[in-house]
Symmetry: C2
Subunit: 252 residues, 2 copies
């Protein structure tokens, strides 16, 4: 038997060790960052982090990952599951008087702006009103498929669905209506947009006022779905609120 | 030069390949589970998941990991940071009339029951009233150090601190007072416990009523900290609420 030269084996081993050390080092760094950004994202969803103007620079990669690599979809699954469980267990079908209502937000609740935010570093860039304006006026947002299922179920069950959005009525009325219709959101009672009287008013105040008017007309708000806490808190906010995930921007 | 025998090199390679395949397979399974459990935990923190009676069996390992391996501490850091930022930027010091107040919950907001829940699979076991009773009566809960810092800062700044807990007054009054004192929670205005009149009433209703009484006496609730949404929602819930993380149990 010939004697095996140690050199090639040793070289392979050293290379493998180096590789292992490097990759675990890299993982350690990015894992540390990931854990910090996860903590920030949870703070956003729990409404502890407020009034932030853009995604922290160190978390831009994390948010991109979150939005594109499965976890955002998983969180949409989870909230959809919660909505259906609530519907099935609690109020199944709307009352015959036609006054059981749901309030749904539009942007990143039922229509997705992900394509737009892709060009804005997933919220890493500051808010760009002109950029968003020309995007929204094109009326090409995709439906969030899981939320379209929720929407259709609500319509089937006989609920009056009110879409309440902070989008300016004059600027976005036709593009938004067209966009919703093209994406399959048909049969809602009304699309309520921000009229001239409410320009410059915070979303929370505007939406509270709109809901109060609905309740004043006798509607019972059975559920309220939004990606921003300003959709969900305030007056007449409904029997149950559902927070749709969104780590890309904050609307006060 | 002697010819190197291929056998040892090939064997090492095959073993390394097998190891890589096995470990990535294991990671894939546990990663999938982790991602599902993370989604559930976020739903808990965002108040989408409600009225759950115990941690889902498939997430018990995840929650143990969360509580013990850094992420829980990181989330406590994050909420503490938010509280201090709010304090520094908004209301820094209490008004001279002595009516600026904060409301803090006790269990798993300022005192930790982690040691107890360790014996209950970190919330994987159903709620055990007798077990919790004998635990709480021992009065040996540790302070959550970050929350003790918050507490001390509030006292320093001149706020009136009200500790409002769903713990039964008759059963836990002396053990709770002793426990708080021993852990450094000194100088609060009052420890408000659940009296006989409120037995069997939901935490949210009980705590709302207590807060309403404080506001009725002229206190301005500047902040409200709790690990349960039932601490934080309802009437007179304060200028700002802070959700402390807790994936181990749900109090309605």
């Amino acid at each position: 038997m010939t004697k095996a030269p140690l050199l090639p084996v040793v070289v392979i081993f050293v290379l493998l060790l180096l590789l292992a050390a490097t990759s675990s080092g890299m993982t350690a760094v990015s894992e540390h960052q990931q854990r910090r950004c996860l903590s920030w994202r949870v703070a956003v969803e729990a409404n502890n982090a407020r009034a932030w103007s853009s995604v922290p620079p160190t978390c831009v990669g994390y948010v991109e990952d979150y939005m594109l690599r499965g976890q955002y979809q998983r969180d949409l699954d989870t909230v959809t599951y919660q909505i259906f469980a609530y519907l099935n267990n609690t109020i199944n079908v709307a009352a015959a008087d036609g006054m059981d209502a749901w309030v749904l937000d539009v942007d990143d609740t039922i229509l997705s702006n992900l394509l737009y935010y892709k060009g804005k570093h997933y919220g890493g860039d500051p808010y760009d009103p002109l950029g968003f304006r020309s995007w929204a006026q094109r009326g090409i947002c995709s439906a969030i498929p899981k939320m379209l299922r929720v929407y259709k179920r609500l319509i089937e069950k006989g609920f009056k669905v009110f879409l309440v959005t902070g989008r300016d009525e004059e600027m976005f009325n036709s593009s938004t209506s067209r966009n919703l219709d093209a994406q399959g959101f048909k049969g809602h009672e009304r699309l309520i947009m921000r009229g001239a009287d409410y320009r410059g008013v915070g979303a929370s105040v505007f939406k509270s006022t709109m809901r109060k008017q609905l309740v004043g007309k006798g509607y019972r708000i059975r559920g309220n779905i939004g990606d921003q806490w300003s959709d969900l808190l305030g007056d007449c906010n409904g029997d149950r609120i559902f927070k749709v995930p969104n780590p890309m921007y904050f609307v006060p």
